[in-house]
């Protein structure tokens, strides 16, 4: 037990790799065994992170369960892990969604072993980002997560459809989507890597707690004197290098167009993880790195950032409303919802230290968690119906409610969570963001009031696209086509996938104190 507690973070981080290694030696054709092995393997990190949650002392400031080993001595980079309330929440989300996604993938029959191994490696990549307290380590895990996801989309993505790049050049949709996802993120990472190196060389360390103290106040650039630029300019450029890398990942408008493609083409469980966790990496980057490392720049550029977030909220909702592909509709809803996260972060950057900022950040972090639950649920439900009908076109559905009443009930429920219905989780976080940002706006009379007000258009259209989905799938005249085809009701395994999500959605919606308390302490310590 002591061993576990002393090495908790490393265990959480590497148990998935271990499980992947076990899978590697299992026979290829034993699909059931492989599935169960992967599921059980992914339950260990969940159990460990629940242990972590239970042993996390919320009254202490700063990082806990820290691990520190020399890793790359020449660069003075170390294997440094640690959690605070923000990363703890994200670790819980990741370790929760991975087994759920694996359970959701039990229907996969093609190359099960490779698929499951990729999923487990993906988990390690994502967890590494949330756990790292070393800038270089952070970057390494940031990139590692890309690879499995690339293959998951590229190999197990939907088989139909193609995209025209320009006249005469067409590629398969999943190839297109996986490339776009990979190259877009890598393009963002390029600037990030350069900026990371500059910081590392200047300060002489990649250790985040050290950087938090030194980098924001650093007055001259040792060793690197890029073209004699003043330090403010260099810092601003470095800020944008960070911000754009994370903005692509979140994604913030107008860097978002990879998302509908990747989400739509990915296999169901891939979309669940993509929307549930991967997008949070970007937002987490803002919280963990941008706010503490660039307080001045973040405040200076919070306006433009909030503007982009607002555009994501509005145009994400419009775009979702404009889709006739069920999965694309859900994919765009992520743009809409993640916009609130960035809006909250931008407002907090502007009014750092104030109560409004704290509330906005509370909302932003909770929104990350909540969106993880509802988006994963929505993508899964889209997958359930796709598996049965092999179509995602909303116009092929309609009137399914009498045929699949249980599925219909769950879909309505999850849709309402996504819509932000009070009593369910999304409302709490969206309200806190709106409250915080609006407070920043009206108490300082800044543009944030306008951003909040205009974001309400997005909130309105959230209702429009959610109801469009419900209307086009469930409601409407009796659907004889699918009645004759004997559309099957949602199965027990599929209900099991949804159960933890449903429970958490209600729990957080009704009594969010258990999670908000953890988040609030971390957020208050951030300033």
């Amino acid at each position: 037990m002591d061993f576990i507690l002393n090495n908790l973070l490393s265990l959480i981080l590497f148990v998935p790799v271990l499980a992947a290694a076990v899978l590697l030696v299992l026979p290829n054709e034993e699909k059931t065994l492989l599935r169960w092995a992967a599921l059980i393997g992914s339950l260990f990190p969940l159990a460990l992170s629940l242990t972590l949650w239970a042993n996390f002392d919320n009254s202490l400031p700063g990082f806990q369960f820290e691990v520190w080993h020399t890793w790359y001595a020449a660069l003075n980079s170390s294997y440094h892990l640690g959690v605070d309330g923000i990363s703890l929440t994200m670790v819980l989300l990741t370790t929760l969604l991975t087994p759920i996604a694996i359970l959701a993938s039990f229907g996969i029959t093609d190359r099960v072993k490779a698929y499951m191994i990729l999923f487990l490696l993906l988990e390690t990549g994502m967890l590494g980002v949330f756990l790292s307290l070393d800038l270089l380590l952070f970057f390494v895990f940031w990139e590692i997560g890309l690879v499995p996801m690339y293959f998951l989309i590229n190999q197990w993505g939907s088989e139909k459809g193609e995209r025209e790049l320009w006249p005469g050049v067409k590629v398969a949709a999943r190839t297109y989507a996986s490339f776009k996802f990979m190259i877009y993120t890598m393009a963002g990472s390029l600037g990030l890597l350069l900026a990371i190196q500059m910081i590392g060389v200047t300060v002489g360390s990649y250790d985040l707690p050290v950087l938090f103290n030194l980098w924001p106040t650093i007055a001259e650039l040792k060793g690197v004197g890029p073209m004699g630029l003043p330090i403010e300019t260099v810092k601003s450029i470095a800020f944008w290098a960070f911000a754009i890398a994370f903005a692509i990942k979140v994604p913030v408008w107008p860097f978002h167009t990879w998302l509908p493609d990747a989400h739509t083409e990915a296999p169901t469980a891939g979309s669940m993880i993509l929307a549930g966790v991967l997008l949070k990496l970007g937002a987490y980057g803002f919280l963990r790195l941008v706010l503490p490392l660039y307080p001045v720049e973040a405040q200076r550029y919070s306006g433009p950032l909030a503007f982009l977030a607002m555009m994501a909220i509005i145009f994400g909702a419009f775009a979702a409303f404009g889709q006739n592909d069920f999965k694309r509709l859900v994919a765009y809803s992520s743009v809409n919802h993640m916009g609130f996260v960035v809006l909250g972060i931008a407002a907090a950057a502007y009014a750092a230290g104030g109560n409004d900022a704290a509330i906005a950040l509370n909302g932003a972090v909770l929104q990350m968690f909540n969106h993880g639950l509802s988006a994963a649920g929505m993508f899964f439900l889209v997958g359930v119906i796709y598996e049965r009908t092999h179509t995602r076109d909303l116009n092929d559905f309609g009137g399914l409610f009498p045929l699949v009443p249980v599925y219909g009930g769950i879909l309505v429920f999850t849709s309402m969570a996504s819509l932000g219905l009070p009593g369910l989780n999304g409302f709490i976080s969206e309200f806190l963001v709106v409250r915080g940002v609006w407070g920043v706006g009206v108490n300082n009379w800044s543009g944030f009031a306008l951003f909040t007000a205009l974001s309400m258009i997005g909130l309105l259209f959230t209702g429009a696209y959610i109801l469009k989905g419900v209307k086009k799938v469930l409601h409407g005249p009796i659907n004889h086509h699918w009645e004759e085809h004997g559309l099957k009701e949602i199965g027990v395994r599929e209900i099991l996938v949804m159960t933890p999500l449903i429970v958490l959605i209600v729990w957080i919606g009704v009594w969010p104190a258990w999670i908000l308390d953890v988040i609030n302490k971390a957020v208050m310590a951030l300033f």
Binding site: F431, P477, P512
Partner: protein
């Protein structure tokens, strides 16, 4: 158990009923409705217990039942939620408890419990009847259990709203009711009209809700709390809000003014006030108990309840007789306008439920207008009486429809619309209980003097308007005239005269589960008015209990209006004239006759019939453009065209640069010159050297010897 604990528990039985029905009992109709009705009964019992305790407390306004606990630990001060029963919530609780319980019982009969399953019934469509021994009889609703689950969830939302001590949980209840309204309007979701109406209702109210959310956020940001008592009972907070300019003064509002207007927009949506009134008439697609509960007695009333609740904030900075605050001006204007506007539309509707829907909009306008001119108690009074008599009317109309449907099943002619009043007539003989109770409700709505509750509450509004704001008085008086007229039109067309169709002739009185609630509600439609008779009229012989009790909600005591006989005479004359004209015009309508008003009104009639074309207008200026913005502008132009275009452009440039590098550099220079070139050199060298490889040992030996000698010589001679 303390009263506070009891109040915390009030909303829970319906919630539990919802969960139980959804998870466990949805296959058993009897079990499901038993659970739902039992839950409603429990909440009703609790409400009555709380109400009785509340009226026993002296100065309840100053010492309300109040209990809080921490909910959201955010920022430096945790956000608290709690329950509060003060005079306003006590009277609201009273009517909510009664109407909800009655409507739950009514629903059992309405959905034909105990009848056989239909021959061709399908979930998502209203039942079409079953054949038993060659007769067609009504068939039970296929989604019977689901209906009770939904209305139970709704009741939870309403109770939550009423007992909330803060704006946030009030909003939670508000939105849960919105969801239930959506689900129940679209209950028969296989009907495209119901599906469209459900979405319309949700989206239209959501327009109001997002403004309200901003108001809530603003209030929270400005005061650090959303608790009613912390805000209203703190003069400094109100003063501060009234004096701080909002948004740097850029719209000319004070903070209180802007928050008030934002919150009021929420009410415009929820209570279906102009210009967001369009959803309520369409909401009649839902089953009639839904129309009675959600769209007459409780949810739409909640909009008015909220502004009454927020009155100290909405009126912050206002003094009796002084200029109105922005929020009050908006309420007075929109309320009065809506009252008149909806009443005119009601004149030309033939659907029995739609008439009531417009009448609801109009009556809610009354309350809003009353509040706008500062008639706080009058607005609350009309809220309560209206809830009773309008629920009664809706349930009565459902009973009528049910009766006529019986006739339709009997004749088998499904082309006859059982909701069209022109297909009815003479139902008083066939459906006596429904007739008498409907008459009571209708007279209460018209403000029939002295005996009905509607008279006293409407009169109080008119008296206040007469004293304070003459334009509002005139508009409301005119609407009252129209109200009496269309109500009598409805009663005459439906119940009086002779049946105009065979179906109406074969109509049948409905079962006791439906008529009992009618009787109970009609008791309140008459009796509830007596608790609020102006003392000036009786010389204080009957105390005006309602005014004294409810006025205590406010921190400052409102002065009782000086009694004036003039507006009361006005309202008596108006009510009697309207009723008389309504009867006179419609007493002789025969089968197939057009509406007698059609000819004299001409063009105006078409405008009224088509609801001033608001649906078409909104479709043109809001709905179609948003679809275009979504499908074409955002998806095709911006995302696919512009953003992806740029990305593909970059890809294409990289692709061409790559192509150039490959075709013009890699291939000729690297591959052919350096790559292939060096390969060629090696290859030809090898080719030449190959000649040496003869395979003859002798030659190799010679070569080896020559090499050895040469090497030796090199080293030795060096």
């Amino acid at each position: 158990m303390t009263t506070e604990t009891l109040i915390w528990l009030l909303p829970l039985p319906p919630l539990a009923a919802f969960a139980l029905i959804v998870l466990f009992t949805n296959r058993s109709k009897a079990l499901s409705h038993s659970i739902a009705v039992a839950a409603a009964l429990l909440s009703w019992l609790g409400s009555m217990a709380v109400f009785i305790q509340a009226i026993g407390v002296e100065h309840l306004g100053e010492h309300p039942f109040h209990s809080v606990l921490e909910w959201l630990p955010v920022g430096d001060k945790p956000f608290e939620i709690g329950v509060l029963v003060d005079p306003l919530s006590a009277v609201t609780l009273f009517f909510v408890g009664w109407t909800v319980l009655m409507i739950f019982i009514y629903s059992v009969g309405y959905h034909n419990f105990g009848q056989p399953a239909g021959d061709h019934d399908h979930p998502g469509l209203p039942p079409h009847g079953a054949t038993v021994h060659g007769h067609t009889v009504p068939s039970v609703e296929p989604m019977y259990s689901r209906f009770f689950a939904f209305i139970a969830l709704f009741a939870f939302g309403m109770y939550t709203l009423v007992v909330s001590d803060n704006l946030l949980t009030l909003f939670v209840g508000w939105e849960i009711m919105g969801l239930c309204s959506y689900l129940l309007i679209g209950f028969w979701f296989a009907k495209p009209s119901a599906r469209a109406a459900a979405i319309k209702a949700f989206m239209t109210t959501r327009v109001g809700d997002v403004f309200m959310l901003m108001g809530v956020a603003y209030l929270y940001a400005a005061t650090g709390t959303l608790s009613f008592r912390e805000i209203f009972f703190n003069e400094e907070v109100l003063k501060h809000l009234a004096e701080t300019p909002a948004l740097g003064g850029f719209l000319g509002f004070s903070a209180a003014g802007l928050i008030g207007v934002l919150l009021f927009i929420g009410t415009i949506g929820k209570s279906a006030q102009w210009p967001l009134h369009v959803w309520l008439p369409d909401a009649m697609e839902g089953p009639t108990p839904v129309s009675a509960m959600i769209h007459a007695a409780t949810m739409v009333s909640a909009g008015v309840y909220m502004v009454i609740r927020m009155f100290p904030l909405l009126s912050a900075g206002w003094e009796e007789g002084g200029p109105l605050t922005p929020a009050m001006t908006a309420m007075a204007f929109i309320g009065a306008l809506t009252a008149l506007f909806a009443a005119t539309i009601a004149l030309a509707q033939n659907d029995i439920k739609r008439v009531l829907a417009y009448s609801t909009i109009s009556q809610l306008g009354y309350m809003i207008a009353a509040l706008g001119i500062g008639a706080y108690v009058a607005a609350a009074f009309h809220l309560v009486t209206h809830a009773f008599f309008k629920a009664l009317l809706f349930l009565g109309s459902g009973s009528v429809i049910h009766g006529v449907e019986h006739g339709v099943l009997h004749t088998g002619n499904h082309k006859v619309d059982p909701q069209d009043m022109f297909n009815m007539g003479g139902l008083r003989k066939k459906m006596p209980v429904t007739f008498w109770t409907f008459l009571i409700g209708g007279f209460a709505l018209s403000g029939f003097p002295f005996v009905t509750a509607g008279f006293w509450s409407k009169d109080e509004i008119l008296a206040d308007a007469f004293a304070n704001n003459l334009p509002v008085f005139l508009v409301l008086a005119l609407s009252a005239l129209l109200t009496a007229f269309y109500t009598m039109r409805q009663i005459t067309l439906t119940f009086l005269g002779e049946p105009r169709t065979k179906e109406a002739a074969h109509a049948q009185e409905t079962p006791w589960t439906m008529t009992l609630p009618l009787v109970v509600l009609s008791v309140f439609a008459i009796g509830y008015g007596w608790v609020g008779i102006p003392e000036g009229l009786t010389g204080g012989a009957i105390p005006n209990w309602f005014h004294e009790f409810v006025a205590g909600t406010l921190p400052e005591h409102l002065p009782v209006l000086e009694f004036n006989i003039l507006p009361m005479l006005f309202s008596i004359v108006i009510a009697l004239t309207g009723l008389g004209c309504g009867y006179y015009v419609y007493r002789n309508v025969k089968a197939g006759d057009p509406d007698p008003l059609q000819k004299p009104l001409g063009m105006v009639y078409d405008w009224l019939k088509n609801k001033y074309y608001f649906d078409q207008l909104y479709d043109r200026i809001f709905i179609q453009p948003s679809i275009w913005v979504s499908e074409v502008f955002t998806t095709l132009w911006v995302d696919r065209g512009l953003i992806d275009g740029i990305l593909h452009g970059v890809a294409r440039i990289s692709y061409s640069v790559g192509g150039i590098l490959r075709n013009d550099f890699d291939l000729p220079v690297i591959n052919q010159f350096i790559g292939d070139g060096s390969a060629k050199v090696v290859r030809s060298a090898g080719f030449e050297l190959r000649k040496v490889q003869t395979g003859r040992i002798q030659q190799y030996m010679v070569a080896a010897v020559v090499f050895a000698v040469g090497a030796l010589a090199f080293f030795l001679l060096r």
